[in-house]
């Protein structure tokens, strides 16, 4: 009986491991191929591990195109993703506090509006927003890619933080109020320090989504020196840029490094974040 259990367990692990390998095979292929000499990538496509290792793809890829290296594109992406994530965290947590803890007349309708923004995806807003931002003279600037996020426009984050605030004991608010603390004080001194885990989860999702955002870059970035990594990679892969498969895979690999590292470090809070309010991904 015990023996049979052990064998069954072993079979289970082997099957699940094989599945996991198939799941991440495309990524492994990309990573390993980026270390193959570029002429070998396609002829040895079914061989995962390179027989000759080289860093040439990274050297040629990093040089970029049209006079800008990938350092510029990475810098741009970090700038956009970090500032818009910062805005998302501040604004979403303020709104979440109001909707979870404060009592005011329009609270219910506002909450419903927040939820409906989750149903109203950016692709639908693409044309309307473009026309509006054009009127405002924002095309060609980073404003459309950063400023809206300072105004809690992603209901997902408000909702995620609200759920978390719900778990903070209300007695803490009450005690602070008795001590003469205002609502603003309560937010800064009590709520904010206690919702750090939700803020981390939100920060990571926000960062990754902003990093991957190709549509806004396509619509609003007009100058080559302002291109974020998403747009730059796409252009780098185009036949007009030479389309060096090794270099493209090398830069693609580099472009997923930040998201992968964040995922590996904060895996647990991401998994819980998705599980508890379960949207997107």
């Amino acid at each position: 009986m015990n023996m049979k259990r052990k064998i069954l367990d072993l079979i289970y692990h082997i099957l699940v491991l094989c599945g996991a390998f198939i799941m991440i095979y495309p990524l492994l292929w990309m990573i390993f191929s980026s270390f193959k000499p570029t002429d070998y990538v396609l002829p040895t496509a079914k061989q995962l591990i390179p027989s000759v290792w080289t860093l040439d793809n990274y050297k040629t890829g990093w040089k970029g195109f049209m006079g800008y290296t990938f350092a510029t594109f990475f810098k741009n992406s970090f700038f956009i993703s970090i500032t818009s994530t910062f805005g998302t965290l501040i604004s979403s947590s303020l709104v979440a506090y109001a909707l979870q803890r404060l009592d005011f007349k329009l609270k219910k309708p506002l909450f419903i509006l927040v939820l409906s923004t989750m149903m109203l995806p950016p692709q639908i807003l693409m044309i309307p927003q473009y026309m509006w931002f054009r009127r405002l003279g924002w095309v060609g600037t980073y404003f459309p890619m950063i400023l809206p996020y300072f105004f809690a426009i992603q209901g997902f984050f408000v909702y995620l933080i609200m759920n978390f605030i719900q778990g903070v004991p209300k007695e803490l608010d009450e005690a602070a109020k008795i001590d003469g603390c205002s609502f603003y004080g309560i937010y800064f001194r009590i709520i904010l320090p206690l919702i750090v885990p939700a803020m981390i989860t939100s920060a990571i999702f926000s960062f990754i989504w902003r990093w991957d955002d190709y549509l806004s870059a396509l619509l609003y970035v007009t100058k080559p020196e302002m291109r974020p990594i998403s747009l730059a990679l796409k252009l780098f892969n185009d036949p007009s840029a030479g389309s060096d498969i090794g270099a493209t895979l090398a830069m693609s690999t580099l472009s997923i490094v930040p998201a992968t590292i964040l995922f590996l470090i904060f895996q647990k809070s991401l998994v819980e974040g998705i599980a508890s309010s379960g949207i997107k991904g």
């Binding site: 367990d9 289970y12 699940v16 996991a20 991440i24 495309p26 990524l27 292929w29 990309m30 496509a45 079914k46 501040i90 604004s91 303020l94 506090y97 109001a98 009592d103 005011f104 609270k107 506002l110 509006l113 927040v114 109203l120 995806p121 639908i124 807003l125 693409m126 044309i127 309307p128 927003q129 026309m131 509006w132 009127r135 105004f151 809690a152 205002s182 609502f183 990754i208 190709y214 549509l215 998403s230 990679l233 796409k234 892969n237 498969i245 493209t248 895979l249 693609s252 997923i256 998201a259 992968t260 991401l270 998994v271 998705i274 599980a275 508890s276 379960g278 949207i279 997107k280 991904g281």
Partner: protein
């Protein structure tokens, strides 16, 4: 001095503080959603190419879309096909893997991470490029397949019938977040139900159909709604991998809207694109309403 104090007192009231804290969202909603939507509703009744002032033409755009636009119907068909096949496949995959990974072992954390990783980076341009390269005739997919099926060399994945499948495979591959949601609801199922069933002599198979599945229907519903909306809006990956080709066989609706608004050649048709976007919004609302209507037919509630 007194005025300042009064103001602070006023700000300190709960009914005022509520609005102060909500202010970012109120402004954001007006500035970045409501105004653009109203603007685009107006332009959907106009002939508008961005360069020149808009000209009001009434319902002409809408009439043209429904009566004189083969690409519109094609885009609708392609999008429905993608949503109707991709979404159920994705949710079923998510459920099966969640059931398998529900068992707690020392390696479970690692397994979950591995199955979820594609969802985390799947939206990136890097993965789109990778997908295009992998499915090329000389790419790694054909190379691996030819080991098992020697006849398959140089199969053209980007042909008219199969190109959409390249995109369906890509979306199904990213079942990770649905899987995590399933896992968390699996954990919430009361163990005693299974123990009781065991006493009654129900085997594992019966337990699944009579306990697990009914109790999971709310989660299945949630995932279906979420993923259906997502698949109606697929843009980046189709733009990058196939760009609607060949012969419009992967022309997703949002891609079509984009092409009308920002064509490679010729004039932009912003008014027309606005009308298309509004039709899309109505379709999505209708599909969501339909899903919610079907809810009490099959979703279990206690």
């Amino acid at each position: 001095m007194d005025k300042k104090k009064n103001f602070r007192q006023w700000l300190g009231q709960e009914k005022v503080a509520g609005y102060v804290f909500s202010l970012p969202f109120i402004i954001g909603f007006l500035m970045f959603m409501l105004i653009p939507m109203i603007l685009s509703l107006y332009f959907s009744f106009c002939k508008y190419d961005i360069q020149n002032p808009a000209k009001f033409i009434g319902l002409r755009n809408y009439i043209n879309i429904f009566t004189d636009d083969a690409s519109f119907w094609k885009a609708l068909k392609v999008t429905c096909y993608y949503a109707l096949i991709g979404t159920p496949l994705k949710v079923i995959f998510a459920l099966i893997i969640a059931l398998i990974l529900a068992k707690d072992t020392k390696l479970t954390g690692f397994y979950r991470a591995a199955y979820y990783l594609p969802s985390i980076i799947g939206g990136s341009v890097a993965v789109a490029i990778l997908w295009r390269r992998m499915f090329e005739p000389t790419g790694t997919i054909n190379a691996i397949l030819s080991v098992v099926f020697p006849g398959i060399t140089n199969f053209n994945w980007f042909g008219e019938g199969s190109a959409i499948w390249v995109l369906i495979i890509l979306t199904v591959w990213q079942f990770g977040s649905s899987m995590l949601i399933f896992l968390s609801s699996l954990k919430q199922i009361n163990r005693e139900l299974y123990e009781a069933a065991e006493v009654d002599g129900a085997n594992r198979w019966r337990q699944f159909w009579k306990i697990t599945l009914p109790l999971l229907t709310p989660t299945i519903f949630f995932n279906l709604v979420q993923q259906t909306i997502n698949s109606f809006l697929a843009f980046t990956q189709s733009k990058l991998i196939t760009d609607g080709q060949p012969n419009d066989s992967t022309l997703f609706y949002t891609l079509y809207v984009y092409k009308k608004a920002f064509p490679n050649m010729g004039k932009s048709q912003m008014g027309y694109a606005s009308a298309l976007a509004w039709i899309m919004l109505i379709i999505i609302s209708a599909v969501t309403a339909l899903l919610f209507w079907s809810r009490n037919k099959w979703v279990y509630e206690d």
